[in-house]
C-alpha cells in the first residue's frame, strides 16, 4: 500500500476542503471494507485519505416530513436493524441484511455500498474498468460467468452495490456535497455506465462526498430477493428489488430493478409497467420476471444468470405482496 496522509476532519466543511478536483489525489474513507483492499492492490493510490467517520452529521437515520434521511456513515448493520427501515422499506433492510458477513455489516457503510468499486476480477487485477486489451474486451472472450447480461458493453462488470437496486425502486435520492455546494440527484442517475477508462461508474465527482440518502415517505410494498451461490461472504449472482404502489386491490404502479446483471442497477421498466392494474399472483409475478429479462444479452459463460434474474423478480414480487408461492 502506498503511504498517504490521513485526515480526520470533524466537519463537512473541513472534509470537502481536503478533497481535490481530480481522482487520485484524495480518497474518502468510511468503513474501509473496499478502500483498504483497493489501496493494497494499488488500484487506488491516494496521496490523502479523508476519514469521514468523525463527522457527526453523516450518521443516523432520521425521519423527516418527506421520508427518511439516511446518513452516509450509517453501517449496513444499523440499516438492517433499524425498525423504521424494516417496517417501511423492507427492500432496503433485506438488501443490507443479505450481506452474509457480520464483519462487513459492522464496518461497511451505506455511502460505501454505493461508492464501492466493481468486483470484476479483470478490474481487480489491474486491467481497468473496461478490461480492453489491444482493442478487444478480455471479458467477452474470457472468464465472464459473473459478468453483465445487460448493457451490451463496452463495460461488462456488474454494479456491486447491494442497496442501489432497492434505492432506485424506492425512487430515493442521494445528496452529494463539495466545497462549492450540494446537489441532490435521483439514485438512478448516480450509477453510470463508463464508456472509457477515464470515467467512473458513479456520478460522484472527485471533490464530492456522498452525505446522505433521502427515501420518500413509505407508501409502497417492497422487497429485495438475492440469489447467492453460497452462504459465506460473496456478492449475489443476481438480485431484484421491487417497490409496488397499490391502487385498491390491484397494482397502481411497480418499479422492478435488477442487481448484479449490468454495470449499473438495471431497471426493468416495461415489466413494471406491465404489472399496473393487475393482481400480484404467482402467475403475474412469473410473467413480470419473464418480461424483466427480455432483451438480455448473456455472454459465453453466464446464460444461467438470465434464469436467476427472472426468478429473483418473481420471488421479490411475491415477497413484497406477501403472496405465498
Amino acid at each position: 500500500m502506498q503511504a498517504f496522509e490521513y485526515s480526520n476532519p470533524a466537519s463537512l466543511k473541513e472534509a470537502t476542503a481536503l478533497l481535490a478536483a481530480s481522482w487520485g489525489e484524495a480518497d474518502v474513507l468510511a468503513g474501509g471494507t473496499d478502500l483498504i483492499s483497493l489501496m493494497k492492490d494499488s488500484l487506488h493510490t491516494p496521496k490523502r485519505v479523508v476519514n469521514i467517520k468523525s463527522i457527526h452529521e453523516l450518521g443516523g437515520i432520521v425521519r423527516t416530513a418527506a421520508g427518511l434521511r439516511i446518513g452516509a456513515t450509517v453501517t449496513m448493520d444499523e440499516l438492517a436493524r433499524n425498525a423504521e427501515v424494516r417496517a417501511g422499506y423492507p427492500a432496503l433492510a433485506d438488501a443490507a441484511a443479505g450481506i452474509p458477513s457480520p464483519q462487513i455489516r459492522h464496518m461497511g457503510t451505506v455511502g460505501g455500498d454505493l461508492c464501492q468499486r466493481p468486483r470484476c476480477w479483470y478490474y481487480r487485477q489491474g486491467f481497468g474498468l473496461l478490461a480492453m486489451k489491444e482493442g478487444k474486451s478480455l471479458v467477452t472472450g474470457g472468464e465472464n460467468q459473473y459478468h453483465a447480461i445487460f448493457g451490451g458493453g463496452p463495460a461488462y462488470f456488474v454494479s456491486a452495490s447491494s442497496l442501489g437496486p432497492a434505492l432506485i425502486a424506492l425512487e430515493a435520492k442521494v445528496r452529494l456535497l463539495s466545497a462549492k455546494g450540494a446537489r441532490v440527484i435521483p439514485a438512478i442517475e448516480f450509477f453510470v455506465t463508463p464508456q472509457d477508462e477515464s470515467t467512473r461508474e458513479i456520478a460522484l465527482r472527485p471533490d464530492e462526498i456522498l452525505t446522505e440518502i433521502l427515501v420518500l415517505a413509505a407508501a409502497t410494498h417492497s422487497a429485495t430477493y438475492e440469489v447467492r451461490q453460497k452462504e459465506a461472504l460473496d456478492w449475489p449472482l443476481a438480485a431484484a428489488s421491487v417497490a409496488i404502489k397499490m391502487k385498491g386491490p390491484v397494482v397502481g404502479s411497480a418499479r422492478i430493478v435488477l442487481g448484479h446483471v449490468a454495470p449499473t442497477p438495471w431497471e426493468a421498466t416495461a415489466a413494471g409497467e406491465w404489472l399496473a392494474g393487475k393482481n400480484i399472483t404467482v402467475e403475474t409475478a412469473e410473467a413480470a420476471g419473464k418480461a424483466a429479462v427480455e432483451g438480455a444479452q448473456p455472454l459465453s459463460h453466464n446464460t444461467y444468470k438470465v434464469t436467476l434474474a427472472k426468478t429473483a423478480v418473481k420471488r421479490a414480487l411475491l415477497a413484497a405482496a406477501k403472496v405465498r408461492a
Partner: protein, 216 residues
Amino acid sequence: MRSKKDPDRSRQAKGNFSRRGFIRGVGIGGGALGTGLLENAAEAAPATAASAGPGPVPITLNINGKPVNLTVEPRVTLLDALRNRLDLTGAKRVCDRGTCGACTVLMNGKSVYSCSVLAIDAQGKAIETIEGIAEPGKLHPVSAAFWNHDAQQCGYCTPGFVMAAKGFLAEHPNPNLEDVEHGLGGNLCRCGTYMGVRQAVLEAARTLKTQGGKNG
C-alpha cells in the same frame, strides 16, 4: 486468473515493518502492554484532527483493556499493528482483503476484519483480541467448546472464528443452528470444520447462559 505480485509486501519490508521494529514490538507483547514505547517519538508528528502522516505518527490503541502507545504510518492496518508491532499474533493474516475472517477481532464489542481497519482509525475503540479473552492458562467458554467439538484442523482460522463467535453470542445469546450458520458467514475454514464449529458455538451459548449470561 493470473495473480499479481503484491507490491505491498516488498515496500513494507523496506518501510514501516522493519525487522528492527518487529523485534522492538515483541518486547511489549502479551500482558506487558502499555509501556509507552515510541519509535522515533521525537521525529514523529502527533496525529492531530487535521492530518497525520504519511510518515510515522504516534497513536494510542486500547487493546484488551489496556492503553498501548505505538508509532505507525497511517497506512498500517490494525492487523499488521497487532501482529508485527505488538506481538499479538492470534489474529491471522490470510486473505488480507476482508473476506476470510481469520483476522477477526472485536471493536467496541462488534466483530470486524482487522485487515480492513487502519490502526490509526482504531484509536478510541475498545479492541479485543483472542489473547485477551481469558486469564492465562484458562480457556474462554467459546474456546473450550471449540476444543470439545474438535472444531479445528489446521487451526489457522480458529482465533478468528472464536472472536466472531464471541461477538455473535453477545448479540444472540439463544441461537439456533440456522442463526449460527448465518452469524458466522464472515469466516471461512479451508479444512471444512464447519460442523464442529457450529456445534461448538451452540455449546458455548449454553455454557455462557449457565454462567449467568455474562459473555466475557
